[in-house]
């Protein structure tokens, strides 16, 4: 949406909220805040807003969040995440890992059936995976299968798809051969692209197999109706292997791209769950809606990259000076109203991993600024000869722009550096970043699975995401160690040491860790914040008995 429109919409929603607050000063929660559940609640019909129309409903092609939301309801993989984000068995009831950790054997539930009542077999998994890496499918998700033997060679057209390291020993036994011990592989299986697809339906209907009326799926829900950019309606799948535990009868997804419009839809009572709200509304919404506003740590980091192969950022002292001069607490508490959390490392902390904090985290702001100025001078800059550099960022909402302006101001005040904001259209920015055109640039990463490796890979030599061309032999060694060891403790240690190396080299400037944010009506039950921000509808239910 045009930014001006977005701003205006937000302003209008805000002003309405503000007005309603003023006119009912005795009852601040006057506007649609607490109310009786609508008829959809008694019908077991959950209405969810998503940020944009899913680009596909085909698990093998899915690479973005809106598609993932819907596909998580329609399909189920070998394993899944429970409401708290923990791995639990799903289509596979159990699995074994070989001593060298290169071979995984999955035992599928023999009673699992597709929604057309045909049995789900290991062949459907093999077919699905081969299809994802087959260049003829042109799936952007192909690299998700990278841990599986030969996946990248097949995707690059160098080997035929039947050479993929996955085989069906019999109808219900699946064997996977990996390139290296991959501790997080079980998490990788929760990625949509590793879900089984019904071979008999895909072969018969080709690309049209995902259309309503044709699609056959194995999740808690089946597709009833879908319009691109319009509502997507799902109904309960009576043949789902665990149908007895599914409480909802229907789920409808409404793609609403504009977050202010999404809030309007929520306030109008048209949806029960939103996938976000404008940052600038957070104070007002939390005042008005109280506990309906849900924040939870999310596996994502907002940072800046620097091109380390050429001046000025080939100077580690300068990189560290810029890192130290950022007042993250001020940024997250004052400007972002606590919506995001200050970041000092690449990987956010989550259950099972504690990132190593750099020493300067404990310093006072004055100490930090003093050290930053010292390093800035060491790099050859001064008031007479200030650092002059462009910060390149893609066109985005007003939220990002405000954050960037604040950061530029911090560098100006704390160091005297002149950082100019340079806006680029989204695809242009992506292209320039890929070609390492920028000196200082916007960078953000959302982890694919809860393991530090999904972040640490970004700074490996040869990684397509290593836009700043960071290179350090010790880092490479630690990552190789972590990737190839089967010992979980040793791996975590290697990851932590690798992170410390990144911090010591000031390989990037961490700014904040993301949090997921939703508006959720009180009658929606079973919702738990989790690090991957995945909330399949099978774990949710609606209750008319709402505690307000």
């Amino acid at each position: 949406m045009i930014p001006a429109v977005r701003v205006l919409c937000s302003a209008l929603v805000l002003s309405a909220l503000a007005l309603s607050g003023c006119s009912h000063s005795s009852a601040p929660a006057a506007l649609n805040v607490v109310e009786a559940p609508g008829p959809n609640v008694a019908e077991g019909h959950l209405r969810r807003q998503i940020d944009q129309a899913p680009r596909t409903l085909d698990p093998g092609l899915s690479v973005e969040v809106p598609a993932q939301r819907v596909i998580d309801d329609l399909f189920e993989g070998l394993v899944r995440l429970d409401p708290a984000g923990q791995l639990i068995p799903a289509l596979a009831s159990r699995w074994e890992i070989s001593a060298d950790q290169l071979q995984w054997t999955f035992h599928l539930r023999p009673d699992a059936r597709w929604s057309d009542d045909s049995p789900i077999t290991a062949h459907d998994v093999v077919f699905g995976w081969r299809r994802v890496v087959d260049p003829a499918t042109a799936s952007q998700a192909a690299q998700m299968l990278a841990p599986v033997r030969n996946a990248l060679q097949i995707a690059g057209g160098k080997l035929p798809p039947d050479q993929l390291g996955v085989q069906a020993l019999d109808a219900h036994t699946l064997v996977v051969h990996l390139v290296a011990p991959t501790g997080w592989f079980a998490y990788q299986l929760t990625n949509n692209s590793l879900f089984p697809v019904p071979e008999h339906v895909v072969r018969q209907h080709g690309a049209g197999w995902v259309k309503p009326g044709v699609m056959v799926s194995n999740g808690a829900f089946v597709l009833k109706e879908a319009r691109i950019n319009g509502a997507i309606q799902l109904v309960r799948n009576t043949r789902y292997r665990d149908a007895a535990s599914v409480k909802l009868q229907r789920v409808t997804y409404y793609p609403v791209g504009d977050r202010a419009a999404a809030v309007s839809r929520y306030l109008a009572g048209d949806v029960d769950v939103t996938d976000g709200f404008p940052i600038e509304d957070i104070e007002l919404l939390s005042q008005q809606l109280g506990s309906q506003l849900k924040l939870a740590p999310y596996l994502g980091t907002f940072m800046f990259g620097m091109n380390q192969t050429r001046p000025p950022f080939n100077s580690a002292a300068l990189r560290m000076a810029l890192t130290l001069a950022v007042d993250r607490d001020v940024l997250t508490s004052k400007l972002l109203h606590g919506l995001y959390l200050p970041a000092y490392t690449l990987v956010p902390a989550y259950g099972g991993y504690e990132p190593p904090l750099p020493e300067w985290v404990k310093w006072t702001a004055e100490q930090r600024h003093a050290r930053a100025r010292q390093l800035y001078a060491q790099a050859g800059y001064s008031a007479a000869n200030p650092l002059q550099v462009e910060l390149s960022y893609p066109t985005s909402g007003p939220d990002t722009r405000r954050v960037l302006e604040a950061l530029a101001a911090m560098w100006q005040v704390n160091l005297g550096a002149e950082v100019r904001l340079a806006n680029e259209e989204w695809r242009v920015h992506q292209q320039n970043r890929r070609l390492s055109v920028h000196a200082l640039f916007f960078n953000a990463w959302i982890g694919d699975y809860p393991d530090p490796q999904t972040f640490l890979d970004l700074y490996r030599v040869g990684s397509p995401q290593n836009h700043g061309k960071y290179s350090n032999a010790n880092y490479e060694r630690l990552i190789a160690l972590g990737s190839n060891t089967g010992d979980a403790q040793q791996r975590t240690q290697a990851w932590q040491q690798a992170e410390s190396q990144l911090n010591a080299d000031a390989a990037f400037i961490p700014v904040y860790y993301y949090q997921s944010r939703h508006l959720i009506r009180p009658w929606v039950q079973g919702w738990q914040g989790n690090i991957t921000d995945r909330h399949p509808s099978r774990d949710l239910w609606l209750s008319t008995q709402v505690s307000q």
Binding site: V13, I228, G230, V256, S264, Q465
Partner: protein, 306 residues
């Protein structure tokens, strides 16, 4: 008349060819491609995907391949909406835009014409001023302001109507988008008709008709309104296309699955085929609407017949 229509359609072919060529060249000249995303693809996979969509071929070759498809009526696959072809997207979105657009235009005529007539007949009275004020407001306030305001009032505060969604074309879902979309057109139509009717009311033939004692109602309906409608008809051709294609803000605010959003998202996502398909569609619609307007004008005014 038929040969006139035939000739006009023939002239449309080179026009469309120019549109296609320009749009194609502009799109491919824009930096960044459809598969440049924040998650960078491994080069081998990127190459495989580009080959799949023939993006690895030289641009002139891609252009010829695209033209060949268009001649066969095939606008190609969408890069963004991977489950659909561009033909699918248009087939799904066009009826929605047509419904909203034509209803909005109908509503605009229903309100705008009487408003314009009243303003012209009661010139410089309070009626005229009120009609002009309404028209001015309709023209000056853009739909991306009126639409959220209508949502706030009728959906969020009063809860009478839904705040968005197509709802399979249910009347309650249509009301707000249609009203929001029609408001500026009400204003244009009213102002246009007022001006042209005032011109006609001062012509000698109207004076003559009045002098011969013809009843005022007959003078107005038979002699004045018909020629006064001519500028309006000329306006309605492109305006109808505008109302069908120009509802992007409305589609966004109300979350309607029309073509306008495919077009805008397509441009941002370098979804070449979608942008091309919609451009061609809009081009064809404009050609047809202008032709229709000319035909109707000719029917209203014998002097304009070819």
């Amino acid at each position: 008349m038929l040969s006139f229509i035939g000739k006009r359609l023939l002239v449309a072919i080179p026009t469309l060819l120019v549109i296609i060529t320009l749009a194609f060249a502009l799109l491919h000249a824009a930096p960044g491609g459809p598969f440049d995303s924040d998650k960078v693809l491994v080069p081998e996979i990127r190459a495989a995907i580009e080959a799949r969509y023939h993006l690895d071929e030289p641009v002139p070759m891609q252009y010829l391949r695209y033209l060949g498809g268009v001649v066969r009526g095939d606008f190609g696959p969408s890069f963004q909406y991977q489950d659909s072809s561009v033909n699918d997207l248009i087939a799904q979105g066009l009826p929605i835009d047509l419904t909203i657009g034509l209803l909005a235009m109908g509503l605009a005529l229903l309100i705008g014409v009487p408003l314009g007539v009243v303003a012209a007949l009661r010139r410089n009275t309070v009626w005229d001023r009120a009609a002009s004020a309404i028209a001015l407001l309709g023209i000056s306030v853009p739909t991306y302001v009126t639409a959220p305001l209508l949502v706030l009032l009728f959906a969020v505060s009063l809860r009478w109507l839904p705040a968005g969604d197509w709802g399979e074309g249910a009347l309650r879902n249509l009301v707000l988008p249609v009203v929001a979309l029609s408001l500026p057109y009400v204003a244009y139509i009213a102002r246009l008709l007022r001006a042209s009717l005032l011109d006609v009311l001062h012509t000698p033939w109207v004076r003559t008709a009045r002098a011969k004692g013809m009843p005022w109602r007959t003078v107005l309906l038979r002699h004045a309104l018909r020629p006064a409608l001519l500028p309006l008809v000329a306006f309605l051709g492109p305006a109808t296309v505008g109302v069908i294609t120009g509802s992007i803000a409305i589609e966004t605010v109300f979350g309607l699955p029309g073509i306008g959003r495919f077009f805008v998202d397509g441009a941002f996502n370098r979804d070449y085929t979608v942008v091309m398909g919609v451009t061609i569609l809009y081009g064809v619609l404009i050609v047809l609407a202008n032709l229709l307007a000319d035909v109707v004008q000719a029917l209203l005014d014998p002097r304009m017949r070819p």
